[in-house]
Symmetry: C2
Subunit: 283 residues, 2 copies
């Protein structure tokens, strides 16, 4: 199930990048060549490979089959179960959540067409250098693929502890490397990270993974800004970026939420300066 949750995230991320590149003016031929090239890079993976093949499948000379496919993505429920189970275990998996809710959004085709009309359905444009956009897209996929695995593997770890599964994460990674839909070159790095430190709570902490995330964060930030400017929805890319920025925030404004909860529901709070549980009569 967690494998499939990660798969939902990776597919949504690829589709967002595909949409951005198309809007930036890449032809189908250029898209096919790019995904083929990426499949020989650090992004090498089954899903990138089949994307290149999908982008090479013509149904008549000059016409790609994928362009005739309706943009309603169905689902069998395994991505949803992953998000629901992660919530039961209090593990944040926002990239997977975004992929799941975007499947639902995609299936609301008739509503989307109506809304686009009533809000002004102008054609979307990206005005930026193609080469720059391609680099941003590549690094954004690398970054967000890593964080999709990070979320799924943390869920697996917490589930294993809570449900006493005794899952060996490096063994899971070895099996996934052997052949599955989310197999990728990145799994080699992840396997090494868990081999170095089997007690890893999240690959974000691994010294092997840190340089990649640290160096690519600003590229996914730039790509997200470009998408926002062009009114292109990037739910899974944004969720990955926000997940990373939140994980790197020693301080979050959640103290206000605890204050509000204590105000209206006497749910109590902890303090920064001393242990214990406190309640205040706010009024």
């Amino acid at each position: 199930m967690v494998h499939n949750g990660i798969e939902y995230a990776m597919m949504q991320l690829i589709s967002e990048v595909y949409g951005i590149l198309k809007t930036a003016g890449l032809s189908n031929e250029e898209l096919k060549d790019l995904f083929t090239e990426w499949d020989r890079s650090g992004l090498q993976s089954f899903l990138i490979e089949i994307t290149a093949r999908v982008l090479d499948k013509k149904e008549s000379p000059g016409n790609l089959l994928v362009d005739m496919i309706l943009d309603k993505a169905k689902q069998k429920g395994t991505g949803m179960w992953t998000s629901q189970s992660a919530m039961d275990l209090n593990v944040p998996v926002p990239t997977i959540d975004a992929a799941v809710s975007m499947r639902y959004m995609s299936s609301m085709k008739e509503e989307r067409v109506l809304t686009a009309e009533s809000y002004g359905n102008e054609k979307k444009h990206i005005r930026a250098d193609k080469k720059d956009i391609i680099t941003l897209c590549k690094n954004s996929l690398h970054f967000s693929f890593l964080l999709s695995y990070a979320q799924g593997l943390q869920l697996l770890r917490v589930a294993s502890v809570n449900y006493k599964y005794g899952v060996d994460i490096s063994e899971v990674l070895r099996i996934w490397k052997g052949g599955c839909i989310i197999r990728s070159a990145l799994l080699n790095d992840l396997w090494k990270a868990y081999h170095d430190d089997p007690s890893l709570t999240n690959i974000i902490h691994s010294p092997r993974i840190r340089p990649f995330l640290a160096s690519m964060r600003d590229d996914i930030a730039s790509l997200t800004r470009i998408a926002i400017d062009s009114r292109i929805p990037v739910a899974a890319l944004s969720a990955s970026l926000n997940y990373f920025d939140a994980y790197c925030s020693a301080q979050l404004p959640a103290n206000l939420i605890q204050a509000q909860r204590d105000y209206f529901g006497a749910h109590t709070y902890e303090r920064v300066d001393k242990p214990g549980t406190f309640h205040t009569e706010w009024n």
Copy 2:
């Protein structure tokens, strides 16, 4: 339950805006005055009102209690149930999902402190005119509060149809207006929208609500860009923006996802040019 899901979303949104305003250099005194002022504007609501009061609660001269509260937000599960139920019913509620997963993220305090250290924990800054930021924050809250209600009410509507509850949405809104944690001036507009058209699937379609969303979309986009630049996580604001931009997209890149699903799982697809269900041997 849906009331509480919307409540989670609104609280997370307020906390994100509070965090941005603090980073932009507003003092506690200025924050208190601003929330007090907002509570006399179109944002008038119980949650804005109690935020102003929280920001006025000193524990000693010059020291606010909220600044001594630990940034770990707890939860009793009702937000989670809303997200999980929405997934069961295939209704996208991404702002609520983001609020739920940010509660989990907030509680991982010790991990966040470690990650912040290893990735370089520089102080966050926003370099922008205070008055401009305040306007962006106000409109972003208005926009994202509306979309939090939109998501919750759509869930309630779909649940009512599926489970044969016979819920009258305008009656729900009348009751919420009477007194509850998510009561707000905005509920008056929503009540009118459902009174005009009881069959409304989502308030995004309402001619009463459209001018607000249309005019404020670029402000929440600007605020999100500023937050991204400053490495401030804005999971719920981003989710609201992406939800809106996706809802307004007649075409999404989900055709690629359906192609991939048909490629590796023979899950079939629909076409844009003729009805029916199709499968292709891609290799």
